[in-house]
């Protein structure tokens, strides 16, 4: 059984078909990348999977359980966690409180081993992403790169079965990008499953073994990074026909 299975997911906005009968699956321990030009429907796909949008048709299965159309918080509590493209911290709260919110969820409360307090667990999450010295800093004072790391910490606090990352490298400078790659690699080594949408291909390719390419709401190619790089259709879609 696949950890995550998406079957024929479709979403229409008026006349525009944003996601057109998309199907794929992710197995435990995999890191899958989703790439494609802007407007291909990647974020919409994430929104559909994580419950922020209701699909017009299709199903989403988590470990065989149908989670299609459930409210986002329920999906998160079942272990399917996502991060956002545009960072959204809780700006009135200190950094550590941002993580504590996640630990107040149903899943957060069940998952904390009884020897740990939420604060300790939150600190561990922050340490994992290197934000522990910013713990009491108001989240609105954090830099963009720090906020991206905070997103990761918040997601990891839920001890997810699978994480959907929406452009985790967006807006990061080379040093931050490198740090993020290492963080995500470590998360992968710990056994977590990830699906990553990303534009920065050089960073992405270091993490994923399998890539899906989306264009106009459809998956137009699947394969390993090498295969994708050579795929004519993919090149066309990114660079235009004249090549």
């Amino acid at each position: 059984m696949h950890l995550l299975e998406v079957q024929n997911l479709t979403k229409r906005f008026g006349g525009l078909v944003a996601v057109n009968s998309v199907s794929f699956h992710v197995d435990e321990g995999e890191v899958v990348g989703i790439i494609g030009p802007n407007g291909a429907g990647k974020t919409t796909l994430f929104n559909l999977i994580t419950g922020y949008l209701k699909p017009d048709s299709g199903r989403v299965l988590l470990r065989g359980e149908d989670i299609t159309g459930l409210p986002p918080y329920k999906i998160a509590n079942k272990g399917l966690v996502r991060t956002f493209q545009i960072v959204r911290p809780f700006k009135h709260l200190p950094t550590i409180a941002n993580v504590l919110v996640a630990l107040q969820s149903y899943r957060g409360k069940r998952r904390i081993e009884w020897i740990k307090t939420p604060e300790r667990k939150a600190m561990e999450m922050l340490e994992d992403v290197g934000l522990s010295d910013m713990a009491m800093e108001p989240a609105e004072n954090l830099s963009h790169g720090d906020l991206k790391r905070l997103e990761i910490a918040r997601a990891m606090a839920l001890e997810p079965e699978i994480i959907l990352l929406d452009e985790p490298f967006g807006g990061l400078n080379p040093i931050e990008t490198e740090y993020m790659v290492k963080s995500l690699q470590r998360i992968h080594l710990d056994g977590h499953t990830m699906v990553i949408v990303e534009h920065k291909l050089h960073a992405l390719m270091r993490l994923v073994k399998r890539v899906l390419v989306m264009h106009n709401g459809e998956i137009i190619a699947k394969g390993t990074p090498e295969e994708i790089a050579k795929n004519k259709k993919v090149i066309e879609v990114y660079l235009g026909k004249a090549i």
Binding site: L100, V101, Q104
Partner: protein
């Protein structure tokens, strides 16, 4: 180990570290109020009545602020809970002759329950729609109260004040009763604001703030935001009704500057507006802010305009409200909070709105 101890000690204040100043403010505020009590004897008794009223409206304001300043659910109809509290206790006393120390808690519980009932359909509203809907509620209910005038007493309402609470107050002379009411209101304010403070700084309070900041993000963290919104509504309603019930038992009449005629006086819209003004003047989202704001509002209203500048009522109201407008424009973050933040040397972070405002003022397209 010390890190964890430090965090655990501070975590009770986590939500307050930025959003509210540590309890020092609230504590000192209450201490100031209590310290003023020896001087109470100097005041005229009528003035004491006003102070009692202020304390009880302060409870209304703090409960409102929890909902709006902390959880982000804009409510323009908080007077509803005043009405629920006042009418519940009045009816229970009038028609069932239940003792006061039972009717008041029941009124508070009624507020809790009705808040949840009303909150459920309100969950799907955001921002402006929520504001409009909440404004409509008390006004709609007033129509029913007026219609069923047999039960609810029509224009004049059920005669007030009802028997004092505790019952023992009735045994006192009227002059003593007013003093006792004042202390009672102060005690109630203290207890209520401390409880609300505890809630606001607990983990639940942190979740409230997360809903205020980014509801979608909160959902992504697995939070059932509907549950928490209802909880915030309910707590707000509980204390609001409590204040309303006690007001029915202690305040001479409803009468405070009546801006409105006829029916709406049954549930004075004033009690929807004053908490908002108070919270803004004092500092939205803080606990001490609304309390200070209520004091500013009523002291400005009563003392200054009656002693210093004796003018006709409508002129007084016009000037007074204009002053309120000016104060709000000058200090949108709240007078008290601005002062506190300056003292704490917290730098005001530039929010997107401020950047936008500045750009608008300069009127230059910037890339």
């Amino acid at each position: 180990m010390t890190v964890i101890k430090y965090i655990r000690r501070v975590s009770a204040d986590l939500a307050t570290h930025i959003y509210d100043v540590p309890p020092r403010m609230l504590a000192s505020l209450i201490l100031i109020l209590m310290a003023a009590t020896p001087f109470i004897g100097i005041l005229e008794l009528r003035r004491l009545d006003i102070l009692t009223h202020i304390n009880l409206v302060a409870i209304l304001a703090v409960s409102w602020d929890l909902l709006v300043g902390r959880t982000g659910q804009i409510s323009l109809g908080h007077a509803l809970f005043y009405g629920i509290g006042a009418y519940t206790t009045a009816i229970l006393y009038q028609y069932f002759a239940w003792p006061v120390w039972i009717t008041v808690p029941i009124s508070a519980i009624a507020g809790f329950c009705i808040a949840i009932l009303i909150g459920i359909p309100c969950l799907r509203f955001k921002g402006p729609y929520l504001a409009l809907i909440t404004m409509a509620f008390p006004l709609a209910i007033v129509g029913f109260l007026y219609y069923y005038r047999d039960i609810f007493g029509g224009e004049t309402g059920i005669p007030r004040p009802l028997p004092g609470l505790p019952r023992i107050f009735d045994k006192l002379l009227p002059s003593q009763r007013i003093i006792a009411n004042y202390y009672f209101s102060l005690a109630l304010l203290t207890i209520s604001s401390v409880i609300i403070y505890k809630i606001a700084t607990s983990k639940t309070g942190i979740v409230f703030v997360s809903i205020l900041d980014d509801e979608l993000g909160s959902k992504a963290c697995g939070i059932n935001t509907s549950k928490y919104k209802l909880l915030s509504f309910a707590i707000s309603g509980l204390f609001g009704s409590l204040a309303g019930a006690v007001m029915a038992h202690t305040i001479q009449t409803n009468a405070n500057p009546r801006y409105f005629f006829e029916k709406t006086a049954l549930i004075p819209t004033e009690y929807s507006i004053v908490p908002i003004i108070a919270a803004i003047l004092g500092g939205l989202g803080t606990i001490y802010g609304p309390i200070i704001g209520v004091y500013i509002y009523y002291l400005l209203n009563n003392y200054i305009f009656e002693y210093l500048i004796p003018v006709d009522k409508p002129i007084k109201i016009a000037i007074f409200v204009s002053i309120i407008i000016i104060l709000i424009i000058k200090w949108p973050r709240g007078i008290a909070r601005t002062i506190v933040e300056k003292l704490e040397d917290l730098e005001e972070p530039r929010e997107v709105e401020e950047i936008l405002k500045e750009r608008m003022r300069k009127n230059k397209p910037e890339v």
